[in-house]
């Protein structure tokens, strides 16, 4: 795909704002190193977004703009790609994340019951974060841990053969006031 005709330059208000934010944050430097490693190639966009999400936790607008400016890609394309892939999050995640696998094997073994119990307890729907920003409840399409279904990932750690009770107990630890 072609780059835009008129690429933003210094003097453009959005460009200046993004570069000012980036100058004060070391993570943008690290991100730029990743882009450099990929020779700022357009096809490295997904790799770069992975790195950006790893560094910042989620992809906010100015971060996407920074990527677009540096890779010389239209912002619309960067946004289009970031929203096509469900691995990328454009909203901040909670302090803790709980991902229930809803692959077929987990589903037939009762993962839906686990999700239901968690939704009731946290009072959010899957895909949402509790209003206090403590817990994000997510579902996955299949994490490939079917042999130990149903599987739930708590803060990145996969736990095998989960029951609603076990899941509630686990997140109960997060809900306690520190």
């Amino acid at each position: 795909m072609s780059a835009t005709l008129s690429h933003p330059n210094p003097g453009n208000a959005k460009y200046d704002r993004v570069m000012k934010v980036a100058a004060g944050d070391k993570r943008f430097k690290i991100l730029e190193v990743t882009m450099k490693k990929n020779q700022f190639r357009h096809d490295s966009l997904i790799e770069v977004l992975h790195k950006a999400q790893e560094l910042f936790g989620y992809l906010e607008d100015d971060l996407l703009r920074f990527v677009a400016y540096k890779l010389k890609l239209p912002p619309s394309r960067v946004y289009g790609v970031a929203t096509f892939y469900h691995f990328f999050s454009l909203k901040p995640q909670g302090k803790h994340t709980c991902v229930v696998c809803m692959g077929t094997a987990c589903y037939v073994k009762g993962a839906d019951k686990v999700v239901e119990a968690l939704q009731n307890k946290l009072k959010v729907k899957s895909g949402e974060t509790t209003p206090d920003g403590n817990v994000s409840l997510l579902t996955a399409r299949c994490i490939g841990a079917c042999g130990i279904a149903p599987a739930v990932t708590y803060d990145g750690q996969v736990s095998p053969k989960q029951t609603p009770e076990q899941a509630l107990e686990k997140i109960g630890q997060w809900l306690q006031p520190a």
């Binding site: 997904i46 992975h50 892939y85 073994k109 299949c142 130990i148």
Partner: protein
């Protein structure tokens, strides 16, 4: 690197084998039950017991019996094999003392269990045996010798001829003959060509490719290199889904090690053949398993499929001829080169040769990965190897092929597992997910589950898939909520036919399969939920036209 150097490393590694080898599964499944801690504890205990010179503590990939994990295999040099199941980190001490003749109350498994005994391992031959993070382990069992043979003794034509004669068909699901595909890429004009490995294993209920990548990454790399030589490519891409971080890190290690030994890179085995592999990480889009969408994703775009023809074999990545095969397909290559097409073709049926790896999961006693010859009756897999449904229930149906496949009812369990037979039953071989459902499973709910999946995963490009899946899901919801009539069911069937025949890519074309197959075998479950038609009522609640 020359062949004698390769063999020297292998011999040295073999000669250094210790009396006993303790193999701990460090695949994603067992790690979730702390097998990584267990592995460390075993090393500590072996050291504490002063057995370092006699006992090797080895990190291995998946042994297959995931439902019984974490697993620890014990190989004695004289040939005895033992297996421990459900091993906890604290069990390390007991296992090590057992090696010295002490008592041990850790649950013992049977390495001769039908789950293992019925398997024929080609793709998974080294899984659970070699250390996936140590290339020397792979070399010790003859790794990369097939690549050497292909580079020095064979040319493009003879390799493709061998693959064609072997009868190997694409293991991604559709079963296209690999030899023909390779031949097309080889013949397509173009100075630059690519080899792409599809590791975007998106079918829910399937983890064969994850296991192969985590357990034996070099096997896939070697297969890709042989393919590259055959079709005239010098650059490869391995597309792995982001949900598999362990597979990604092991591949990164494997590529680095292979490069260091000159088995990837420039002038491999001192021939003019160059081959580099880059990893591309997916980002959570099932549709990227479709080949043209996967290529768009590698190019850094939205993973939207495009019409075929032109096929990727003619016009693929950046418009260049591209060979695209699945992980399991590449994992078969080195064995075919080493042992010959006839040997490979001796497994399986007339039209489906070789073996297939399945992820046997769901309501079944023995969960895990199996590799069986094509043509094995489904009943043998489910009843003998899988042990049937647990808790006194009976098997109702077996789902194969994920969201693109169908449900095979219990009365058809004697069907041989091959591409044609499964197709006749309205299902597909698929990539190898096999989810067993018992008599408590509601088949309409299952169809709805898959339709919701397809609806969420539709890329939105073509209308039949984008809007059709939404309406099919909506109709299924109406049925399960007991709000639908016979007319709604008719509409659903009509939509299934339309979406199947008019969608742009494989996702849409196969999305109706779960509905069609459950309707074929479990129609009464749908009909039981229908409401009587109110006489004279309009077709739908909003059945008036707006196009005026």
């Amino acid at each position: 690197m020359q062949l004698d150097e390769l063999k020297a490393i292998a011999e040295k590694k073999k000669a250094s084998a210790k009396k006993v080898c303790l193999r701990t599964c460090l695949s994603a499944g067992c790690i979730s039950s702390q097998s990584d801690v267990l592995h460390k504890n075993l090393a500590t205990e072996v050291k504490a017991a002063g057995l370092e010179n006699d006992v090797e503590v080895r990190r291995v990939g998946c042994m297959g019996f995931c439902g019984q994990g974490p697993l620890v295999g014990v190989d004695h040099k004289e040939g005895k094999e033992e297996l421990f199941e459900f091993v906890k980190p604290d069990d390390a001490k007991a296992i090590v003392s057992h090696l010295k003749g002490g008592a041990c109350d850790v649950q013992k498994g049977d390495p001769q269990h039908p789950f293992f005994a019925k398997q024929v391992k080609i793709v998974r031959a080294n899984g659970g045996i070699v250390d996936p993070e140590n290339i020397e382990d792979y070399l010790a069992i003859g790794g990369y010798q097939a690549l050497h043979h292909a580079l020095t003794e064979m040319n493009s034509e003879s390799i493709i001829d061998t693959i064609t004669k072997s009868g190997l068909r694409g293991r991604g699901g559709a079963g296209f003959p690999s030899g023909i595909k390779w031949g097309t890429v080889a013949k397509s004009p173009g100075a630059k060509k690519y080899v792409v490995c599809n590791g975007d294993e998106g079918d829910p209920g399937a983890f064969m490719d994850r296991s192969v990548l985590e357990s034996d990454p070099h096997l896939v790399l070697e297969g890709m290199a042989i393919a590259a030589h055959a079709v005239g490519a010098d650059q490869g891409f391995l597309y792995v889904r982001a949900e598999y971080p362990l597979a990604i890190s092991r591949l990164q290690i494997a590529i680095k090690q292979a490069k260091a030994l000159g088995l990837l890179g420039s002038g491999i085995f001192e021939t003019p053949f160059n081959f580099n592999v880059d990893i591309r990480i997916g980002a959570g889009a099932f549709v990227c398993g479709e080949e043209t969408a996967l290529l768009a994703s590698i190019e850094g775009e939205r993973g939207m499929p495009r019409p075929r023809p032109p096929f990727p074999a003619v016009k693929g990545l950046w418009g260049c001829p591209t060979l695209l095969n699945n992980v399991e397909t590449f994992a078969n290559i080195s064995a075919i080169i080493n042992k010959g097409a006839d040997w490979y073709a001796s497994f399986g049926t007339e039209k489906s040769k070789g073996t297939k790896v399945f992820a046997l999961t769901g309501k079944i006693k023995n969960n895990g990965l199996i590799e069986v010859p094509m043509g094995i009756p489904l009943r043998q897999i489910v009843e003998e190897m899988g042990g049937g449904a647990p808790d006194g229930h009976s098997v109702k149906s077996v789902q194969t092929g994920g969201p693109s496949g169908g449900c095979i009812p219990a009365e058809h369990l004697d069907t041989p597992v091959d591409y044609e037979s499964l197709g006749k039953l309205g299902s597909i071989m698929g990539s190898g997910g096999m989810v067993v459902m018992d008599d408590t499973t509601n088949m309409v709910e299952i169809a709805k589950f898959y339709m919701e999946f397809c609806m969420d995963e539709s890329c939105g490009k073509c209308i039949p898939c984008r809007a059709g899946t939404v309406q099919m899901f909506h109709l299924l919801e109406k049925i399960t909520q007991r709000k639908a009539t016979k007319r709604d069911l008719d509409k659903l069937e009509e939509l299934c036919d339309m979406v199947k025949n008019t969608s742009l890519c494989g996702l849409g074309q196969t999305a109706p399969n779960p509905i069609q197959s459950t309707l074929r075998f479990f129609r009464s479950e749908y009909e039981a939920l229908l409401q009587p038609d109110a006489t004279g009522a309009p077709v739908g609640a909003n059945g008036t036209a707006k196009a005026h």
